[in-house]
Amino acid sequence: MTTSTLLLITAAIAMIGYLAGSRRALSLSGGRSSSMHSRPGYYGSFVAIWSALPAALLLGVWLVAAPAIINSSIRSEFPAEVKAQSQASQGLSFGMIEGIARGMRALSAEEAAQAERNPADLRNLMGARGVAIAGDPEAYMIKAANDLNTMNARSNLLRNIAVLLVAVGGAALAYRLIAPRFRARNRVESVILASLVVASSIAILTTVGIIASMLTEATHFFARVPAHEFFFGTVWDPRFAAAGATASEGQFGLIPLLLGTLYIGFVAMLFAVPIGLFAAIYMSEYASQRVRSITKPLLEVLAGIPTIVYGFFALTTVGPFLRDISSQIHGLATGDYSNFIQAQSVLTAGFVMGIMLIPYVSSLSDDIITAVPRALRDGSLGLGATRSETIKRVVLPAALPGIVGAILMTASRAIGETMIVVLAAGVAARIQLNPFEPMTTVTVKIVSQLTGDLEFTSPQTLVAFALGITLFIITLCLNIYALYIVRKYREQYE
């Protein structure tokens, strides 16, 4: 019986348990539903849960534990000279034994006997059956493979019996518990609650896991490179190609990358905030219902475009356009047609990132502006203020904290944005202020340090984790602060 058949049978038992439980509850109630604590379906679900859940848990544990136990017991039977080998080569031998065991099952009894007598034939025999073996098997391996097969068969049999017993037993136990005053509904609901808790803790635990793994790798990095050189270093020069050079020779200064990130983010916000905010004001205060119903989805489509597409746009359209127009302007002014805006530049990346951010700013601010109570607007209009005075003096000040929060959230997106800057900002880690020149960002460097054939032990690659955790902490702080502001703002109207 395979695992999936076993699962199907368990599910069938649970189903039967459900039906039986509901029926029992129905007959106990004697037609008057008020005499039972819960509706019949709850009793049915209770029985089903008690049969399926413990059985599934047992199966899960078995699937994890049994192979490990069998593995170690086979290995303990290895001849002494094999045991003397390294763990890795023992692992290889075990892998081969598994292959042989799979092959043995495909052979007929006669062929198996022949193979046992003459291990050299085994490879050909199995090859004929379509089972490939990595090398020439040794004598002990065939015995071990046979052991493995018997142990697996016994384990499977035991497993099937145990799981089915638990399923039936659980169902029977739950079935007997059914009584008029038995609170099946509450029990079922607590199981549902538990599964909800499990689901949400998985999300949280994953985050914790990601942070932990980044932190450990980052500590490895800081063991090689002093933290102050990383955080306060002004030169980024990891020296990849220097063959034979000692690892610590590279310089890992964060400052140029951080400045590039902030600068490009700043330029992006310079485009995104005014445009997004004005769009939000128009949409929430002036646009008619019809215009709104068309433009809002359109803006949301803009938010759904993958950022790599914006990256293309920057690389193939905006960058060359800015370069060409700058050379035209320069030529008209001085007669020398050389461009002063590079195709990859802070301006290109910032501009395109700004376009990407517009929908975030506008839809977040739109929600916040619409949330300002109508009574405030009426109060102002009723005093003879015009619409724009009302927006300027009442609506926007009231919405300001929320808008600031929205802008901070957008800023944290800008800081973490990768694809656009990879394609449009350049890779030169420099400290400079000219927006027409290329600069690079933290995210770009994380990508470039981690792409290629690398071992994960040199500072050149480990630095990516230090960069990652730095970025993570910056955006985390921004988001927490933004949430704090937005929440405070909400309280004001509740």
Binding site: P373, D378, L383, G384, A385, T386, P397, A398
Partner: protein, 271 residues
Amino acid sequence: MNMMTEAAVEKALDQRMNDLSYKMIGKDVSVYYGEKRALFDVNLNVRQNTVTALIGPSGCGKSTFLRTLNRMNDTIDNCRVTGRITLDGDDIYDPSIDVVELRARVGMVFQKPNPFPKSIYENISYGPRIHGLARSKADMDQIVEASLQRAGLWNEVKDRLQESGTGLSGGQQQRLCIARAIAVSPEVILMDEPCSALDPIATAKVEELIHELRSNYTIVIVTHSMQQAARVSQRTAMFHLGQLVEENDTDKMFTNPDDQRTQDYIMGRFG
């Protein structure tokens, strides 16, 4: 009326429109929300320096009528007003009328106190600043103090003018809103159930205030409380299902109304 010729009707109407004791005159006022008609040819006049109470069961169009008087209905999409409403003889729906100016002359106080989330001082100075009523800081201080005095709030807030208006109690907030309306020196003040969110003591204060304001302003008030209508108003108008049922002296309305529906409503038989 049936016997008069059309010209005579016209003439009589003109006469009434010019009659200065009527501050605002509504003639055949109908209001539509999209396809739905909320008011049916209402003819109601508002007398100068008088408190006019609008009563009637919920949904009968009291707020709707009140809002036509300062064109607050303009702020509602798909709301349409027909008929003619004048303020001192000028049609307020005439294209040449600036609605901003109109609302400065016809102020409004809402059912739920809605102070701006600004300081008490700024709440009051908001209107005068927009309309440029104060030439200097001292002028503004003066307006703020006078408005708060009139609204009977000065003594309670004079030491905390810079604190937020939303931090006041409900009754204080409502009086702040009245002070805010007074600050732009309106001629008419519209009040839509101004006491419905207040406790009896705060209500008594607001009613007292309305009483005092009558000498300087024309007031139209919507209320669900018959006692309140009887206490504060001199004229009462009864609405039912979007129609004006009866308009009369308050004393007569509450003792001997002309219309059976008014009597039923006042006796609490429906609504």
